[in-house]
Structure formats: C-alpha cells, structure tokens
Amino acid sequence: MSPAPRALDLATGVGAAYATRMLAEVGWDVVKVEPPGGDPLRDEVSRWGRGRGGAFAYVNYGKRGVQADDRDIERLAAAADVAVGDFSPAGCAASGVSAGMFAALSPRLVVVSVSAFGLTGPKANWAATDLVAQAASGLMFLTGEHDQAPQQLPPYAAAITGGIAGATAALAAARSARADGVVRRVDVSTVEAMASHTYSQTSAYVYRGEVHRREQREKQALRMVPTSDGYVYCAPGAVANVDMRGVAELIGESRLAEERFQTAEGRMQHYQEYLDLFVPPFRQKTAQEWFQEAERLHLTFALVQTVDDLFRCPQLGARKMLRQVPGPDGRPVPAPGRPFRLEGGPPEASRPWPEDPGEHTAEVFREWLGAQ
C-alpha cells in the first residue's frame, strides 16, 4: 500500500479548511499551517452565541497542526501533493500568507483556492461573509417565505458547499496531474458552488423569462404542520401534485378526500377551505405519533428534528455517523463524522483537530522535510 497522499492546509476560516477535512476523511495526511496566534476561528462563537470553537473543531478534524513562515510553507508544499487555502486578498490577510502564494506554491500536483468570489473577475476583491455569498449566488432569493425577506441558510452553508466542491476539484485535478506531471491550479468560489444549486431556476429564466422566487407560505404550510408539540413534515408523496386521500385517512377528515382537493391546482383554488380541514387536526397528537401513524399508512412523512434530536437518533447511532470528539472541557461530545459510509475503501480520519497551533510542528517537519 502506497503512503497516504499529503495535503497542506493554509486556510483560516471554514471553506478551504472543510475541503482538507474531507481529504482527511478519505485517508489523506493533512497538515494545517496556522498563523501566529492561531486561526481566529478557534475563538469564534456560534450565530446564536456561545459554542466557542465548535466550527474550528468540525472543519479541522483529522489534521495535524504546524506553524511555519513563508519559506517553510514553500518547503512543506513541495513535499505535499496538494496545497489548499483561501488565496483571496481577505483570505491571505487572515491567514498571513503572502498574496502571490497561489501562483508561487509548487506542490507535486495541485493548488486549490476556496474563497467567496474567487480570485478573478470584477468582484475578486469584494468583501464577503457567508450571508453575502449566499445573496450573490441566487440561492438566497429562493430561501424563505413569500411574505418575508430572503432568508439565510444554516451556518456556513456556502463555505461548506464550497469546501466539498474544493475537495472534489482537488481529487479530480490530482488525477489529471498524476497523468501528465503538470501542477494544476483550481480557483473555487463559494458563490458559484451555491449558484450551481439553482440550475432549474437559471434555465427557467434563460428559456422562458420566469423569475422564480420564494415559495408561498401556503405551499410551505402543506409541508410542515404544527402538532401538539412541534412540527411534522407532511408529504403525501414525493412531489406536490399528489392526492390527499392518504392524509384524509390519517387525520380522519373524509372531506379532504373530495375530488377538488386531489391536485395541487385544486387545493390552491379552494385554499382557505382546504387549510381549515387540513391543519387543525394535527394539533391533536404529537409529531412523533403522527409520524408513526403516517408510516403505517406508507405516507412519506418526516420528523422535523432539532439538533438535539440528532444526538439521540437511533439511526445515526447504528451507523456511527456521529463520533465522539473532545469537548471544550475535555469530556467527549458528539459531532458529525464522515458524510458517507464505505465498505472497503480508504480509512476515515482518526485524530481530532490540532489542540494548539503548531502542536505537531517538529513531528511534521521531521516526516515531511527530513529535518532533525
């Protein structure tokens, strides 16, 4: 078995770091270079406050940490197969990497940049947060309800999407580079990664002039319904235009089985009447009870879970999707592991994130550079 391929992670923040975390999850030896003082993400709290360090822990799982100056970074890169960073002006400033590094680094195979707007184009110097990247992508315009402002997605949705895109591009480009020996440079934009979600809406405009927008509250109401203790996702079938007879049976409301409620268009035409029959009965039982009864009737309902529900989920437990990681006080806490299970294939990451910046400097310099 050949030795593990090596990735050098020069990033601070989430996107590029998640790309190398994914490489660590498929057996790569990943080394993270942190600036003096460490990655500011180590001190970041959540969107809701508290939870300090959680984002850093998640996107840096499976890596070793070093501190290195520009000269050492170039030497480490030369000993790596792939180097990954955020080489935008803002990204370079945050990670302390010099601006010309994207063009100058010479790893054996590939350099990948993951930044919000990318390294070229008229907005290459624009400032961004995940909110702003989502807004620029076209996806945010579609997120939320029709009588509300466009809504943000869960934390770092754009950066994580750009990260997995960057990891995919790294493996793809490395494949090409192995074949012809030429170093590839890949410039991933998280805005574009999010824009790629909207292919249907793009085509609807290009071929028909339709500007799609956020779904109506009414349409949402057909899907997540309040119960006695929370919401249940009500889906009589895979798509919207299915009949309601199964739901009529489930909630004991025979009028919902009338012909005029059996298509999406019919429900829209008799909307208020429809809602009055459909929504109130769900208040009589808990979400879990409705879900179980729906399952017996072969309706494709889903639980509307919170993060705490995930920690108790028997499916995730059985599949070992959550792994125990060292929590802030040293005691283990659960965090998501590899996004997929493999039978055969490369091993998953097996060490936590570097506890301190530079924790593995001596060890990595010895292994990668032969330094004493």
Binding site: W48, T120, Q151, S203, G327
Partner: protein, 408 residues
C-alpha cells in the same frame, strides 16, 4: 478543469435529483455516464431536467421484463462505477446489489444513494430531499422566529448536497481502487449528507451553543447583519458589518453617526436602504470595504459580469447559459445536450465484449430494452396571470436574452 475522468465509465440507474446531480459532475469531468431508466412508463423529459441529463448517454432497461436484470448485470461487469438511487430492496430483488455486482466485477465502485442509508433501524424508510432537510435539522433554523419552519431555496437542496458528496466519494474510491484493486461500496444517504452539511451548527451545539432555532437573518457575531428591502419590486441587499465597519456603513448610507455608532441600528439602515437600488448600495458599501451584495435573482445571476468573466456558465448546444459544476469552470466543460431515453441502447450494448446483434434484438423484442418519448419542450405558457397573482413568480420578462451580450 480538463477531463480527469476520461476513460472512466459509470452505469447509473438514477431518478429524481441526487444521483443525477452526482453523475452530472462526473460527466462534466469527462467520465462516460450511462444513465439507465425504465422506458416502460417514461414521459418526455422536462426542461428542468436538462442540466441533469447533459453529457450523458441514456439507455432504457425494464428490470421487470424478462432478461432486463441480465442486461444490467452484463453491462455492470464492464464499467468502473455502478450507481443507483433506489431502495436496497429493489436492488436485491433484481440481483444487482453490491454483492451480486461484485461477483461479475471484482473491483467495482458501487454507489447507493438512499434516504437514510442501507443499514440501521431506519434503513428501509422512504425519504425524499425536502424531507431530508426537515429531519436533518435544517428547517428549524430557517426563517423568521415567529414563522413555521422554513426551507432552503430550490426543492433539491439536500439532493444536490448529497450528489456533491457522492461525486467526491466516487473520486476517492477510484483513487483507492487504482492503488489497491479493491471494490468499494459507497453507502450515502440524504439524511447523513445533510447532517454533515450542518456540521458546524451541530458541533457548536455540542460545544455549548443554545439550541439552534429560527432567528431570521440575525447573527449575534455582527452588530449589523441582515437583508434589507431596496427600491423596486422584490429587490433587497444583504449586509454583514463588523463593529469596525459601522462608521463606513453610516457614511455610505448618509446616517450621521460621527464616531458614535450606537444609534446605527437595523431600523435606521432599513429606512436608508429602502429608497436606493440594491446594486448601488452594495457597490458603495463594498467600495468602503463592507461585505454586502444585492440579493440576486436568477435574472441577475445569468447577467452577472463577474460570473461570466470567470467562465462560470457552460453553453449547451442549444445556445443558452447553464450552471457550471459546483467548483466552477463551466465554460471549459464540453456540454452535449440531453439525449432521448434509449437513444444509446444499440451503441452501448454492442460494445466489444457486449451483446451480439441478435441478442440486442431479442432483448428489444422481450421489452428488456426500449426507448422513451422524444422531445423536451422549453415552451412558454400562454398565460402567467394566475401564477403571478399568487406570487409564485417574481415576474416574467418579455425579453429575457440580456445574457447574449456575454456570449461573444
């Protein structure tokens, strides 16, 4: 990106969006993707599917017909990757599950995309993309605090996320196979991929954050963070300002803050933004170094100079711009338009080591292979009045080819 997967063949029994999105990325990277569908109940392809069908071959196999599973198995023996997004039960029933395929193709990469995974107590439960968003915890964090749970834009958010993870996993598995000769089963679920996508929020909660819930566009780390309605119908601008940015925000928006930014609250910003075009506000804030952007709709997106300058869009032979791969560079992707279902039957089956002409005819006669209807109509409906009145669409443009100026 050049074509790193040239020479790799993928046999994909796919439906809906998750696996087609994954294999489209593999096709964009140069793999030959053979999309397998049942021709029995096929309908004409929809316009919205054109991006999921590009660069793929399409064959029709009816697994329920005499000889159908045998056709699939014989093709599966000579490809690099076999993928499906049906239930494990279906694949076992027709003898095309991982163990069966591995017997005819010892180093196969076999991809299963399911709702909850192929194992575990929920393994046989059905789940579709929008349900995956709900059960993974996305929806409880999207929307205004007093509203019912919201959903990510597009109905294929969880599907696409799963597909992107699948494309990554296939590349990693191919590298592993090349190094070791081992078969790999990639067992990927909508549910788990969505949770990984939410990993920051989940880990932060484990690290002591409050239970993530709906807080609209707020973010406690920024003194100013939100989406503000701008001049014009359905126009708004997203702004995220740190403490140090507030004097700049005040100056750009003409709010007299003179060093004291305590009074620069969201209400004053909303009033100041409401009378100005979103693009103008965003450009002025960016000139002052503040993170901001107009909330782009799909018309803005296909006319975005920045995206065109970067070569994000690919051009299908029908002439229009199409979304590039998630990692960009669509302009470098050779894009061939969708084939008709079954168009590639003869070509694919007749390959060296494949089916003799009389075997192909026998399979066709038995209904094991077949063709679906032709056509994909990007037809514009005569009347949008009902959909516009219900605000299902923001607007419908009478001329909508402004993107053509970028084609030269």
């Amino acid at each position: 990106m050049d074509q790193p997967l040239a020479g790799i063949t993928v046999l994909s029994m796919e439906q809906a969006a998750a696996l087609p999105f994954a294999t489209r990325h593999l096709a964009d990277l140069g793999a030959e993707v053979i999309r397998v569908e049942s021709h029995g109940r096929a309908r004409p392809s929809a316009l919205s599917e054109s991006d999921l069908l590009r660069n793929k071959r399409r064959i029709g196999i009816d697994l329920a017909a005499e000889g159908g599973p045998e056709v699939f198995r014989r093709l599966a023996a000579n490809v690099d990757v076999v993928a499906h997004n049906f239930t494990p039960r279906v694949m076992r029933k027709y003898g095309i599950d991982f163990e069966s395929v591995r017997q005819v193709n010892p180093d196969v990469i076999y991809v299963s995309i399911t709702g909850f995974g192929t194992t575990g107590p929920w393994g046989e439960r059905p789940l579709f993309g929008p349900g995956a968003e709900a059960v993974s915890g996305h929806n409880v964090m999207i929307g205004e605090p007093d509203a019912w749970p919201g959903r990510p834009g597009t109905i294929v958010y969880a599907d696409n996320n799963t597909g992107l993870n699948a494309a990554f996993a296939v590349l990693a598995a191919l590298d592993h196979r090349d190094a070791t000769g081992e078969a790999v089963h990639v067992d990927l679920s909508l549910y788990e991929a969505a949770i990984a996508h939410l990993g920051v929020a989940v880990t932060e909660r484990a690290f002591g954050a409050p239970l993530p819930e709906r807080i609209g566009n707020a973010d406690r780390r920024y003194p100013l963070h939100g989406v503000f309605a701008a001049a014009g119908h359905d126009r708004s601008v997203a702004i995220a300002a740190a403490e140090a940015d507030l004097p700049s925000v005040g100056r750009v928006l003409g709010l007299n803050v003179s060093g004291d930014v305590a009074g620069l609250d969201a209400e004053r910003v909303a009033v100041a933004v409401s009378a100005r075009p979103a693009e103008e506000v965003a450009a002025a804030l960016q000139a002052a170094g503040v993170a901001a952007h107009a909330v782009a709709d799909c018309s803005d997106q296909v006319q975005d100079e920045h995206l065109w300058a970067r070569g994000y869009f690919g051009i299908l032979l029908d002439g229009g711009p199409h979304a590039g791969p998630a990692f960009g560079g669509g302009a470098d992707v050779a894009m061939t338009p969708p084939h008709r279902l079954g168009q590639d039957n003869d070509d694919v089956l007749a390959r060296p080591g494949g089916f003799a002409p009389e075997e192909i005819e026998a399979a066709r006669a038995a209904g094991a292979i077949g063709e679906g209807p032709a056509g994909m109509e990007p037809r514009r409906p005569a009347d949008y009045s009902v959909r516009l009145a219900r605000a299902e669409l923001s607007r419908v443009d009478e001329t909508f080819d402004g993107w053509r100026r970028f084609l030269s």
